[in-house]
Structures are given as C-alpha cells and as structure tokens.
C-alpha cells in the first residue's frame, strides 16, 4: 500500500517514511520531556508551561463545570412537594434525636472538649477558610488522585495549604494558578499525612493506597510499635510547623481494622476516611488569618 508519491527519489521521502520519521522525532521529544521533568523535580523547566496551561485551561474547566451544573442539579429540582415534606419530617426526627443525645450525654461532650483542647493549641483555633468547588477530577487512568478547585492565588490559595470539607481532611494544595488550584487527595499513593489517634494521642503516618473509590483506604504506621490502635478510634491530623502543609486537629478517618505484618514487626492500621472522595463538591482551603482575596474568607466559630 504505497501512495503515488512513494516512487520518488531519495530526496522526496514517501508518506510512510515521513510518518516513520515524524514518529521517531515525537517519541524522542516525549522521552526528552519525561527526562527533563522527572530529573529536575520541583525546579522543572516544565513548570512554567504547566502554569500557563493551567491558567488557560483552568477557567475553561471552571466554566464547563458551571455550564454542566444545571444537569447534575436536575435531580434536586425534580423532587416533589411530597418528597420534600417527607425529608423535612425525617430531618426533624433526626434533629430531635440528636438534641436528646446532646442533652443526655454531657460527659461525652466534656471529654470531646478536653480532647479538642489537647489536640489543638490556642493559636490553632479559628482557622480562616476559603470555600471552593471541585470542578475537575483527574482520571484514574493517570494513577494519581488529584482534583481541580475553582479558587486560585487570586483568592489567597497557595501551595501547601490544607483542604477539608464538612466531613474531614481532603488533601493539600500542590499547585495553584491565578484562578485554579490542584489538590492532592490524601488517598493518593504519594500522599503522607501525620496523624494522631484520638484516644491515646499516639502519632503516626498515614499513606494513601491510590484508590479513591468506596474501597479507598489509608494505611497508618504508628511511630511507637508497641501501641495497638483500637477499632473505631478516630484519627486526626497531627499538624506541622505553621500549619504547612497540614493544620492540626482535622479529623481524617476511623480505624477499620488492625493487621500485624510478621515481616515488619509492626502493626498496620487500616483507616477508612470520613470524606467520600467520589462525591467531592464544596471544599474549604485553610488560609492564614487576614487573607485578602476576591472571595469571602470564612472564620471558624461565631463572630463576636
């Protein structure tokens, strides 16, 4: 199958030869780019290109997500009055039950307050938050669990900031452009979070397994090998200096099971995260106090 141009002299290569040449050149280009990016690490020559592409495609992603939102919200709009009434009565019942619990279990509340006081220092109370929406999720084919937020440096969001939602810790910001930020989820296999067990305050490191589905789990390695984590114990962030990249006291998950591996002579606790990573929508980025930006900064606790 040779095209008519294939019978020209050596000066005029055939289509097949040209394709082969182009293929060779492009593979070489790819290998060069991979080498440059993999070797250089943080100071990669690709990072300016990355931020330019992010600056251009980020807003496109945000706009597409906004344009697509009416379709995903359609489920809510189609609910009947009857259904809403049912929801209200269900919520009222639940509210009453929770109220009762809160009233009858002051002991637990006291313990919780104590624990809170232990795990958080005074300076840590009252985080400032910037709310953002998840507009894009990296495909699993890329084997890294990252999402794009619609808030960037113009809202005060910068690299190495903690991202959480109402359930618990989501991840940390690994790069930010003017209007978007990329977040590494804690279930990613590259993510390591310092964690603390809620009951005995033992510290350890949580590593993601790379899967974000309903079976997404974290592995907890305790620093002290003699400690046995108990099932259903809550793990919170341990926090690092100046809250970079994780602030202290954010709930991460619950101990699901404890496996002892004979090879490492240590116990591995499997943590089920509180956050449902398949249904991420509204999240908050922890920003330093007094951050100024183009969107409102929420401060934890009631304004006084």
């Amino acid at each position: 199958m040779r095209s008519p141009s294939g019978r020209r002299g050596p000066g005029n290569p055939s289509a097949e030869q040209r394709a082969r040449r182009a293929f060779g050149l492009l593979v070489l280009a790819c290998l060069t780019i991979i080498t440059l990016d993999a070797r250089a690490g943080a100071g990669s020559p690709l990072s300016p290109v990355r931020s330019v592409v992010g600056n251009v495609l980020g807003p496109v992603e945000t706009a597409t997500a906004a344009g697509f939102r009416p379709f995903t919200d359609l489920g809510d709009a189609l609910r009947t009055n009857q259904g809403l009434r049912k929801d209200v009565s269900a919520l009222e019942t639940e509210n009453a039950r929770l109220r009762q619990q809160a009233a009858t279990q002051p002991l637990d509340r006291k313990r919780l307050a104590e624990l809170d006081g232990l795990t958080r220092t005074v300076a840590d109370t009252g985080y400032s938050l910037v709310a953002a929406q998840v507009v894009a999720i990296g495909p699993m084919q890329s084997f890294s669990r990252t999402v794009t937020l619609d808030a960037g440096t113009s809202s005060g969001v910068r690299k190495d900031m903690t991202v959480l939602n109402s359930d618990g810790l989501v991840g940390r910001v690994i790069s930010a452009t003017r209007s978007t930020a990329t977040v590494l989820l804690i279930v990613d296999s590259d993510s390591v979070v310092g964690g603390r067990l809620g009951t005995n305050l033992e510290i350890g490191f949580l590593r993601g397994r790379g899967s974000a589905g309903t079976d997404g789990r974290l592995d907890l390695d305790l620093v002290d090998n003699s400690v046995v984590p108990s099932k259903d114990d809550v793990v919170v962030t341990w926090g690092s200096k100046d809250g970079v990249p994780y602030v202290a006291g954010i709930p991460i998950g619950r101990v699901e099971s404890v496996v002892s591996s004979p090879r490492q002579s240590s116990r591995l606790a499997v943590i089920k995260p509180f956050v449902d990573f398949t249904a991420l929508d509204v999240v908050a980025v922890v920003v330093p106090k007094g951050t100024q930006g183009d969107r409102p900064v929420l401060t934890a606790g009631a304004p006084r």
């Binding site: 182009a22 280009a29 790819c30 993999a38 894009a136 999720i137 990252t146 296999s189 790379g210």
Partner: protein
Amino acid sequence: MTALRGSAVGALVCLAVVAQVVVFRYVAIDGVVPDLALVLVVVAAIDRGPQFAAVLGFAAGMLLDLAPPADHVAGRWALALVVVGYLSGRVRQDARSSAFTAVLVVGAGSFVGTSLFAFSGVLLGDGAVPVDEMLRVIVTSVLWDLLLAPLLVPVLLWLLGSLRPARERALHESARVLG
C-alpha cells in the same frame, strides 16, 4: 484557511481533554473515565494516517500531562498517545473497511495507551499503585472506550472529515471510489 482548520482540530483536542476531567467524572467507574483524547487520536489515525495521528497524539498527550489537575511527570501521556496514533495509523487500511474493525482498533489502542502510561509510571516510580489495581484500571478503561466507540467514532470521523482541506477531500473521495 489551514490555520483555521488547525485551530478547529486543536479546539476538538481541548474539548476532549476538558470533558474527560469535568463532565465524565459524574459517570466515572471507580474514578476511571472514557479516554476521549485517546479515541480522538485513534479516529484521526484511521481518517488521516500515522503521521497526522502521531502529531495529534503528541499535542493531546501534552495537554493531558499539563492541564490541571494532572500531577504526573509530563510527557508520559504524550509518549503513550504518539505510539497509539502511529500504530493505529499503520493498520488504518483495515480499520477503514468496516465500523466493527474501527471499534476494535479503538479498543486495542486504548489497551496499548493505558498500559504504556502505567508502564512508564512503574519505570519512573511515579504514582505507583499495586499491579492488581493497575490491571483493573486498564481493563475498565478499555471496556469504557469499547462502549463509547460505536457512538464516538462516526461523529469524530464526520467532524475530522469536514475539517479536511478541500483538495485532500477530493483525493479521499476518489480513493474511496477506487478502492
């Protein structure tokens, strides 16, 4: 005029990449979405041949590597898609004969592309996941692409066909009549 056609193809690539991370996340199976960019490259190979597809694969792959929220080493998707574009361009004569073979080529391309990407990750130690998880992701994405190929291939063939320069289109038509 060619610049206009080029930018139209570029817009198509951008659309595929953005739709992959924004729109298709709502239907993702355990985080695996259809590889729209890969399907586009395979269809371009069937329609235009290996050289065009390899260049398009490079462009689409770089965009996948650099657009947020990508975090892996840049160039990995580009390498995978260049190979996919070139290989499917080599079998284009068979793939053009029937829609069924075109769908099969998409499936094979999807397998080669995701496997190459996974393999380069293992080599570089970039985003390592257990092998069983890797295989599950590859199989799921091949099934996704096979599922969507019967819908996407005719649409993309028509789109790329209408973006073809007039002179080449005439050649193409005559080749189809002759061949």
